[in-house]
């Protein structure tokens, strides 16, 4: 899951990036409105965290322009002003949720998860494919009742797979949603990680869940 953080206060941006990455999200940062808008337009993000008071282009304007281009990416606004007026106009111009500064990081994470759920039309923090389950809040992964230990990247990859079951996921899609913009597309890192994941999820089970779609990419599904 890839998140864009648009925040001019360097220290705020940096703890957001650190905390979100530790939750296995891929995080990009923009320090002003123009840069944020640019990144939002060239990349496909799963969520944008947007500060309202930004240099060059303020948060409201960035929000408006993102929505004008038809994008429905979930947007969480951060506001220093707790005036209801601001919040209402934010929600009106298409933000999905807001948090006032200073906020609790745990709450931010809960809101982020809720927005993902809403986007995927899920009802719980549990994702399920066959006998494989994943908890997005505790990051626990179980196959057939047994816990599976995953690295951060493997977890992020699996979460992305499980949010999009029965769908062909191309290598481009996968890099866009699991890696941040420091990713070098010329490598075969995706294939390497999918193989790691296969070893931990499917090895020893008769029924394989991760399938290779020749010439296009990968897919996770319950049926053979």
């Amino acid at each position: 899951m890839r998140i864009l953080v648009v925040e001019d206060e360097k220290k705020v941006a940096s703890f957001l990036k650190k905390g979100l990455e530790e939750e296995h999200y891929a995080v990009d940062i923009a320090f002003d409105g123009e840069e944020g808008l640019f990144l939002a337009q060239i990349n496909e993000y799963d969520l944008i965290i947007l500060d309202i008071m930004l240099p060059k282009l303020d948060g409201m304007e960035v929000l408006r322009r993102i929505r004008i281009h038809g994008s429905s990416v979930p947007i969480l606004m951060l506001t220093a002003k707790d005036s209801t007026e601001n919040i209402i106009s934010g929600l009106d111009s298409g933000s999905d949720d807001y948090l006032t500064k200073p906020f609790a990081f745990a709450e931010l994470l809960a809101r982020v998860r809720a927005l993902f759920r809403r986007k995927m039309k899920e009802k719980t923090d549990f994702l399920r494919v066959g006998d494989l389950s994943l908890s997005t809040s505790t990051h626990q992964v179980k196959r057939g009742g047994r816990e599976v230990e995953l690295t951060a990247k493997e977890y992020a990859l699996l979460e992305y797979f499980m949010r999009n079951p029965n769908r062909i996921l191309t290598r481009t899609l996968i890099t866009e949603h699991v890696w941040d913009y420091h990713f070098d597309p010329s490598t075969n890192v995706v294939d390497v990680y999918v193989n790691y994941l296969r070893k931990k999820i499917d090895r020893g089970f008769e029924k394989k869940l991760i399938h290779t779609i020749r010439g296009s990419g990968y897919m996770i599904k319950d049926e053979p």
Partner: protein, 491 residues
Amino acid sequence: MILKNIRFKLTLWYIIILGLILTSFSTFLYFTLSSSLYKGIDVKIKSIAELIASSSTNPFYRYSFGNIDRMLEDPFGWKPVTKFFQVLDESGRIGRKSDNLQHFQLPISALALKNASQGKVTFETTKALGKYPLRMVTMPVIRRRHIISIVQVATSLEEVEEALKTLLIILCITVPSALVVASLGGLFLANKALNPVDEITKTARMITSKSLNQRIKLRKTKDEIGRLAETFNDMISRLGRSFKQIRQFTADASHELRTPLTILKGEIEVGLRRRRRPEEYRKILNSNLEEVNHMSQIVDDLLFLSKADMGEVHLQNHRINLTKLVSEVYAQAKTISMAKDIKVHISNDADAVVIGDRLRLRELLLNLLDNGIKYTPEGGEIRISLERDGDQVKLWVKDNGIGIAPKDQPHIFDRFFRIDKARSREAGGSGLGLSICKWIAEAHGGEISVKSEVEKGSIFTVILPLAPHNEGMAKNETKHPGNARYKIRGF
């Protein structure tokens, strides 16, 4: 309850006093009038009695006793129909009497007879005849020390009593009605005087912290009430100002403290989410400390400014050798600027002494130098110079840094104004430095101004009035004991 009401109290007092005055006046009037009326009657009957007595003793008198009525008609000009008289011999037997007595006779008391025998005149009031009492004089007629007869003259008191009765009735009607009218008038006047007070009360009651822009409508007259209303309005304005300042302070403080608080909270929460290496904790704590320092700086500055707004900052009035102060500040700035590879120059040949607060002036200079260093890239230069100009001294802090755009120049002395928020914050600034400088300059009777060009640099000029030079140069400059404790911002 009703006694808690001033208008009723006033009216009541007014009525009581007026009532006392009116009743005592009426009583006085009644008694003086009655006594003078009675005295007049006595004088009158006595003179008639004397006339009669003299006629009976004077052999050449024109009239005989038989025609007393006519005799009296002459000197008095009227017919004394209401006067009765009779003449007795010395033993008390009645001789002649006036016609109008008909078959009645005037009584003679033992006392009167006895007095008469001693040659004395007696006045009496008797109830003997008719509805009204009679006033009667008994007078002996003496010739050669012998009482030859006694003359009695009496008159009815009808007129006097009637007059007094009428007077009493008039007084009994007019005094109470005068009191009623006066009390209504008094109430009206009290109302008129006190209505503005009610108005003031009403306004005062309506005023809350949210409606401090309300005022009492002032009347043109500068009477007691007018002055009260004016004083009251003044008080409301002062209250309003302090409320506004407090609100402004709270809003500013909460707004400015929010960013460091967000950082602190976020960094700590993220830090605590998992076990970390000591270096990581150290990094987090260092960053936290930076934010805490920044916060206390903001709080100090804000507190200073809000105190200054309320007029609670007291400047000391010492003779300060500005030349020496500039050299000191220069030395301090030089050490700090070295870290950033910025050269600081000084040119202060002029001797200048000003009256003021050493700590504040130092803070002013340090703030300007701090800005110069902050907003000048590495390798830049800063010059601080001092020049006398008439009875003023001019102080420059000049840099060749990033400069200030013309559109921003009018705002840089405003509170919290920063051109590049992120840049200023990274350098630990809160946008209060120049507003504090401006306050200090103006509190010393001076001014501060800026000239700047983007990418070329800025010149900040402070003009202060010189101290009158009758006293010797800076001899009495004092070192404040508070010096060591005072922390200059940014340094």
